[in-house]
C-alpha cells in the first residue's frame, strides 16, 4: 500500500505541552487578535475607494480660493477600507459580545429592527427643511414618540430637540430659569446632591447658576433635612437623580418636591435611571417639574462607542410654556413645525432654540420601534426584570464585596459595591482589569463619589439568568483574589488587545493627531 503520501497526520503531543507557550510572532498578531496600523500609515493621498461619474469641465467659480496645498488625507480602496475598520472593530468589547454592566449607562440589547426602521428612506432620506406637507409622516413620528414619553412619565409636554442627556439637562434648567425670570424672581443657586452625575453641576454652571452640594445620608439617599435646611429664596432649583446613583429609589421624593415648591423653587429630575421604573412609576406623580430621558439608555438606541444620544425633556404644566423651539404640533389632521416665525403668539415664552434642526430623528425612529415592540405591558416588564437582575447580583455577591447600602432596602436597577475589604494594595481598578481578562466589560468604577472605590453594576433586563450566573461567578473569583491579596491582578489585563495604558504620558505630552514623520536631515 501507499502509506500517507502527503505526510499529513494529527500531532497533538507537543501542542498539549503546557510549557510550550509559543513566542512572539513576526506580525505581532496573535491569531485572531490582529494588529492594525493607522489609516495614515497604510493609505496614501492617491488611493481612493470611490468611483465618480464624469462631469463636463467648467470654469471655476471659487473666487480664486482654490485649495492648492496638499491636505494630507490618506485613502484606500474599498476592500482595504472594509478590512481596516473590520479589524479595528474586533478590538472593541460590545453588548453584542457579552454582558456590559456599566452602572447608570443601561447597556441593554440594541434590537436590529430599530436599525432597519431608522433606515427606511421615508425617515433617513428626508431633509429637515423640506416643506411641511412633504414630511407629515416624519412630524407624526415625532409627535407619536412625544405622546409615549408624556404618558410614560405622567408629565404635561415634551421637548424633543435636545441631542443627549446633558443637552436635555441644559434644556430643563433653561426652562426653569426662564420660568423664574418670567415671574421676576431671578434666583442664583442650584442644589445638587453629592451623588449626582458630573453633568448636573456642569450644566447648572453653564446656565449661570452657582452650585451647592447637598450631602447624602448614611443610607445612600439625599439628606432631606440638609436639603430643606438650605431651601431659601435664592434657590432656583434642585437637581435630583431618581432612582439615584447609589441604585436606590428616593423614598422621600414626594416630600422633597413639596418642600422645594413651597420654597418657590423647581425640581429637575435626572432621568438617566428611568429604566428601573418605566411602566411602574410615572415621575410626574412624584411632583417633579422637568426630566430628561436618555433614549440611548431606557429606549435601546445604540451607544455607538459614545454617541449619538438623544435627550428629550418632559415638562410639568408650569414649565411647558417655556419649552424650546422648534416643536411639532398637531392641528386637526395635519402636523406643523412651530419655529421662530410661527411662535409669535402662542409660544412667545419659549426660551428659544437649542439645536439647528428638530432633534435626533434617527434616534426617535429607533426608540419608537422599541416602544411599539414592547408596548406599555412589555416596558413594565423591562423595569421589573432590570430591577430583579440587579437585586440578584447584589445578593449573590454581597458576601465577597462590601455593599455599603445593602441594608437600605432593595436596590433598583443597579447594585453598588465598595472597595472595603480588599487586600492592601489592591483596588477597584484591579478588579475591573481582572474582569477584562474574564471576558467582561468592567462595571462603572469610582462613581458615585460618595462611596470609596465604588463599583456600580447595572446588568439590565436583557441578560438571561445563565449570563448573570456566569458574570457573578467571574466577579466572585476576581473579588476573592483581590481579598486574598493576589497581586497579579495589578498587572491585569493579560489577554486584552492591550495591557494597561499609560494615561499619564498621554496627558503630559498630548499626541492628539497623526504627524507625518519628518524626513531625516
Amino acid at each position: 500500500m501507499t502509506i500517507n503520501p502527503s505526510g499529513w497526520r494529527p500531532e497533538r503531543a507537543l501542542a498539549a505541552n503546557d510549557e510550550n507557550e509559543g513566542g512572539g510572532t513576526f506580525t505581532g498578531n496573535r491569531a485572531l487578535m490582529l494588529e492594525e496600523k493607522l489609516i495614515f500609515e497604510i493609505g496614501d493621498s492617491k488611493s481612493c475607494g470611490v468611483d465618480f461619474d464624469d462631469v463636463p469641465e467648467v470654469a471655476s467659480r471659487l473666487g480664486g480660493l482654490e485649495r492648492s496645498a496638499p491636505i494630507g488625507l490618506p485613502g484606500l480602496s474599498e476592500p482595504e477600507t472594509v478590512r481596516h475598520y473590520t479589524r479595528l472593530s474586533r478590538q472593541n468589547y460590545a453588548i453584542d459580545l457579552g454582558l456590559f454592566p456599566l452602572g447608570s449607562c443601561t447597556m441593554k440589547h440594541n434590537p436590529r429592527l430599530n436599525e432597519r426602521m431608522a433606515r427606511l428612506p421615508g425617515f433617513a432620506d428626508v431633509h429637515p427643511l423640506q416643506p411641511a406637507e412633504t414630511v407629515q409622516g416624519a412630524y407624526e413620528l415625532i409627535h407619536v414618540l412625544g405622546q409615549w414619553l408624556i404618558k410614560l412619565t405622567g408629565m404635561n409636554s415634551v421637548a424633543m430637540s435636545p441631542k443627549a442627556g446633558a443637552h436635555g439637562e441644559l434644556c430643563g434648567l433653561l426652562a426653569i430659569r426662564s420660568a423664574l425670570e418670567a415671574r421676576g424672581d431671578a434666583r442664583k443657586v442650584v442644589l445638587v446632591p453629592e451623588s449626582a452625575h458630573g453633568t448636573n453641576p456642569a450644566t447648572a454652571a453653564f446656565c449661570g447658576y452657582s452650585v451647592e452640594t447637598i450631602p447624602a445620608t448614611k443610607a445612600g439617599r439625599v439628606d432631606r433635612a440638609a436639603l430643606e435646611g438650605r431651601l431659601a429664596p435664592d434657590v432656583a432649583a434642585v437637581m435630583i437623580t431618581n432612582p439615584n446613583t447609589c441604585g436606590l429609589f428616593e423614598r422621600e421624593m414626594v416630600e422633597i418636591c413639596e418642600a422645594v415648591h413651597a420654597a418657590g423653587a423647581l425640581v429637575y429630575c435626572d432621568g438617566a435611571n428611568f429604566n428601573a421604573i418605566v411602566g411602574r412609576v410615572r415621575p410626574g406623580d412624584l411632583g417633579i417639574d422637568a426630566m430628561h430621558i436618555n433614549l440611548h439608555k431606557t429606549f435601546s438606541t445604540p451607544h455607538g462607542g459614545g454617541g449619538p444620544g438623544a435627550g428629550p425633556v418632559v415638562f410639568s404644566a408650569a414649565l411647558s410654556p417655556f419649552a424650546p423651539l422648534p416643536f411639532v404640533e398637531k392641528t386637526g389632521d395635519t402636523y406643523i413645525l412651530v419655529e421662530e416665525e410661527t411662535a409669535d403668539e402662542d409660544h412667545s415664552r419659549s426660551f428659544g432654540r437649542m439645536a439647528a434642526f428638530h432633534g435626533q430623528m434617527g434616534m426617535f425612529t429607533r426608540a419608537a420601534s422599541y416602544m411599539m415592540s414592547h408596548g406599555a405591558d412589555g416596558l413594565r416588564q423591562v423595569a421589573e426584570d432590570a430591577v430583579l437582575n440587579a437585586n440578584y447580583i447584589l445578593r449573590q455577591l454581597e458576601d465577597v464585596l462590601d455593599a455599603p447600602f445593602g441594608e437600605s432596602g432593595p436596590c433598583m436597577h443597579e447594585a453598588l459595591f465598595s472597595d472595603e475589604g480588599l487586600a492592601e494594595g489592591l483596588s477597584t481598578m484591579d478588579i475591573a482589569k481582572g474582569l477584562i481578562d474574564e471576558g467582561f466589560h468592567p462595571m462603572t468604577m469610582y462613581f458615585p463619589l460618595v462611596v470609596h472605590g465604588a463599583m456600580l453594576i447595572e446588568p439590565t433586563e436583557t441578560e438571561s439568568k445563565a449570563s448573570l450566573d456566569q458574570f457573578i461567578g467571574a466577579l466572585r473569583s476576581v473579588a476573592e483574589r483581590a481579598r486574598a491579596g493576589d497581586l497579579s491582578l495589578k498587572a491585569a489585563p493579560f489577554y486584552a488587545p492591550r495591557r494597561r495604558l499609560d494615561e499619564t504620558a498621554a496627558a503630559r505630552k498630548p499626541i492628539l493627531t497623526w504627524r507625518d514623520a519628518t524626513p531625516a536631515e
Binding site: 478590538q91 426602521m117 431633509h127 407624526e140 415592540s373 504620558a505
Partner: protein
C-alpha cells in the same frame, strides 16, 4: 417578549434566592401614591416585529423621499451619496453596541477610529488638533464662542450676517443665559456676494471682542477669503471662529485654518451621514495646539501600554464634566461616536484624491445648474463665487414657489422667507444646493417648473 430572556421560572427562582416574596416587594421604596398597580392605559401593548414594521413603514411612506425626486435643498444639511461599505461598518456590533471607551484595553477599535477622525478633521480644517466630535455643527458653533470667551476673557462675539440663522438663533438663546454680548446684523442679498458683511465685521472688532464668527461658504453659498478678517482679529487680540456647514467644500477651497482662523467648527454630516431629517449629525471642532486645554469635548490621545505597544486613550479629561463638575469647559458628556465613525470610514474611502474629485464634481454640477437656472425668465443668480450652493433672486416671493414645486414633486431649494420670515428684502430669495447626486435631468425639471411657476 422577544427582548426579555428571563422565563417565569427564572424569575421565581431569582426572587427566592433574593428572599423577596414578589416583584412588588422590590419596589416598596416607591411612595405608595406613585406605585402604578397595572399597565399604563391609553398606550398600545406589545407588538410583533412584523406589526411594528408595518406601522412604521406606513408613517415613512407619507414623506417625500429626497432620493426619489429632483432635490435641491441644503442650508446646513446636504444630500451626498454614501458608499454602501460605510453603512456596513457602522452596523458592526462591535462599534454599534460599544460604549464610550473608558476601558481602553478593550476599546482600542473605537479609540483608534477617534484618533484617525481627529487627524482627518484637523487636516480638513487646516488646524493642529481636533476633538472627538460634538453633537452637531450648531452646538459646536456655540461651544466655540464659549471657548473664545475663556481664552480671551472677553465676552463680546461678533456674528457674520452670513451665519446660518438657526445657528444665530441658538447662540441668541444661549447668550441670554451666559451674559455674552452678540453683535449681529441682518443679511443683504448684495449682488455677487450675498450675505457678505466683511466690511462691517472688520469695523466691529475692538478691544472687547472675544471672537468674530463667520461661515464659509455662508448660508447663501457665497465663498470668501477670511485672511484679512483673521489678521484684523489678531491685531485686536480677538479670535476668528470659522464655521463650515458643507465640509465637502474643503476639498476645493482653502481651509479656514490656512486663512488664519483660530477655531474652526462645523457640521460633518455631508461625509458619511445621511439627511436623517435633521439628526443625528456630527459636529466638528478644531483649533490650534496652544488652545487645546480650553477646547470642549472628548479627546483621544496616543500613548503606550505596559508592554510598550502603541495604544490610545481618552485624555485631558480633567477639562470635562465628570471630573471638573461645575468648572468643566462644557457640560457635554457624549460625542457623536457612530457618526464620527461614518465620517472617518467615508473619508478613508475618499482619501485626498477622492475628496478633491467629489468637490470638483459638486462644483461643476452646481456651476452648470446655476447657469441653466439663471436663463429662466424671472430668475437671477445672486452669487459671484460659490461652491455647491447658490442663491437665486426670483421675480416672485419664493415660499409659494417652493410649495408649488413640492406639489409637483420637486424639492426645489430653501426659500429665504422660511429662514428669515421677518426680512422682506429676502422674501424672493431661493437657496439652491447641487451635489454629485443631482442629475442634469433634475436641473432641467427644476428649470421648467420654475419657468411655469414664475410665468
Amino acid at each position: 417578549m422577544r427582548y426579555l430572556p428571563l422565563s417565569d421560572t427564572d424569575r421565581t427562582s431569582m426572587l427566592a434566592s433574593i428572599g423577596a416574596p414578589s416583584i412588588d416587594a422590590l419596589f416598596t421604596d416607591v411612595p405608595e401614591a406613585a406605585r402604578l398597580s397595572g399597565v399604563i392605559e391609553d398606550l398600545p401593548l406589545h407588538a410583533s416585529e412584523l406589526s411594528v414594521e408595518r406601522q412604521l413603514k406606513a408613517l415613512a411612506s407619507k414623506n417625500l423621499v429626497a432620493g426619489e425626486v429632483p432635490f435641491f435643498i441644503g442650508c446646513g444639511a446636504y444630500r451626498h451619496h454614501i458608499p454602501a461599505s460605510v453603512d456596513h461598518i457602522i452596523q458592526r456590533g462591535e462599534f454599534l453596541t460599544s460604549y464610550t471607551p473608558y476601558q481602553p484595553e478593550i476599546a482600542q477599535g473605537t479609540l483608534q477610529v477617534l484618533f484617525e477622525f481627529q487627524s482627518q478633521v484637523a487636516r480638513l480644517y487646516g488646524c493642529d488638533v481636533a476633538n472627538a466630535s460634538m453633537y452637531d455643527g450648531s452646538t459646536a458653533c456655540w461651544e466655540a464662542i464659549g471657548m473664545a470667551r475663556r481664552i480671551t476673557r472677553r465676552s463680546k462675539a461678533v456674528l457674520s450676517a452670513g451665519l446660518h440663522p438657526h445657528y444665530v438663533s441658538l447662540c441668541d438663546t444661549m447668550a441670554k443665559f451666559t451674559g455674552d454680548t452678540l453683535v449681529t446684523a441682518d443679511p443683504v442679498l448684495t449682488d455677487g456676494a450675498p450675505g457678505d458683511d466683511m466690511a462691517r465685521l472688520l469695523a466691529a472688532i475692538d478691544g472687547e471682542t472675544s471672537c468674530v464668527v463667520v461661515q464659509n461658504p455662508n448660508i447663501f453659498g457665497h465663498v470668501a477669503d477670511l485672511s484679512e478678517l483673521a489678521d484684523a482679529c489678531h491685531a485686536k487680540g480677538a479670535l476668528l471662529v470659522a464655521v463650515v456647514t458643507e465640509p465637502v467644500a474643503l476639498g476645493a477651497i482653502k481651509s479656514p485654518g490656512e486663512m488664519g482662523a483660530d477655531i474652526v467648527v462645523g457640521e460633518g454630516q455631508s461625509i458619511g451621514v445621511g439627511l436623517n431629517f435633521g439628526g443625528p449629525y456630527v459636529g466638528l471642532f478644531a483649533c490650534n495646539e496652544k488652545h487645546v486645554r480650553q477646547m470642549p469635548g472628548r479627546l483621544c490621545g496616543e500613548t503606550v501600554d505596559a508592554a510598550g505597544q502603541r495604544g490610545y486613550v481618552l485624555t485631558l479629561s480633567t477639562r470635562e464634566q465628570h471630573i471638573r463638575r461645575e468648572k468643566a469647559t462644557s457640560n457635554i458628556c457624549t460625542n457623536a461616536g457612530l457618526c464620527a465613525l461614518a465620517f472617518t470610514v467615508h473619508m478613508s474611502l475618499l482619501g485626498e484624491a477622492g475628496l478633491r474629485k467629489l468637490a470638483s464634481v459638486n462644483h461643476a454640477r452646481a456651476v452648470l445648474a446655476a447657469e441653466r437656472l439663471a436663463q429662466v425668465p424671472g430668475v437671477e443668480l445672486v452669487n459671484g463665487a460659490f461652491f455647491n450652493e447658490f442663491t437665486l433672486r426670483l421675480s416672485k416671493e419664493a415660499r409659494p414657489v417652493v410649495k408649488t414645486l413640492a406639489a409637483r414633486g420637486i424639492l426645489g431649494g430653501v426659500a429665504l422667507g422660511r429662514l428669515y420670515p421677518k426680512l422682506e428684502g429676502l422674501a424672493n430669495g431661493l437657496v439652491v444646493a447641487v451635489t454629485e447626486t443631482t442629475s442634469e435631468e433634475d436641473v432641467e425639471q427644476l428649470a421648467s417648473a420654475l419657468e411655469e411657476a414664475l410665468a
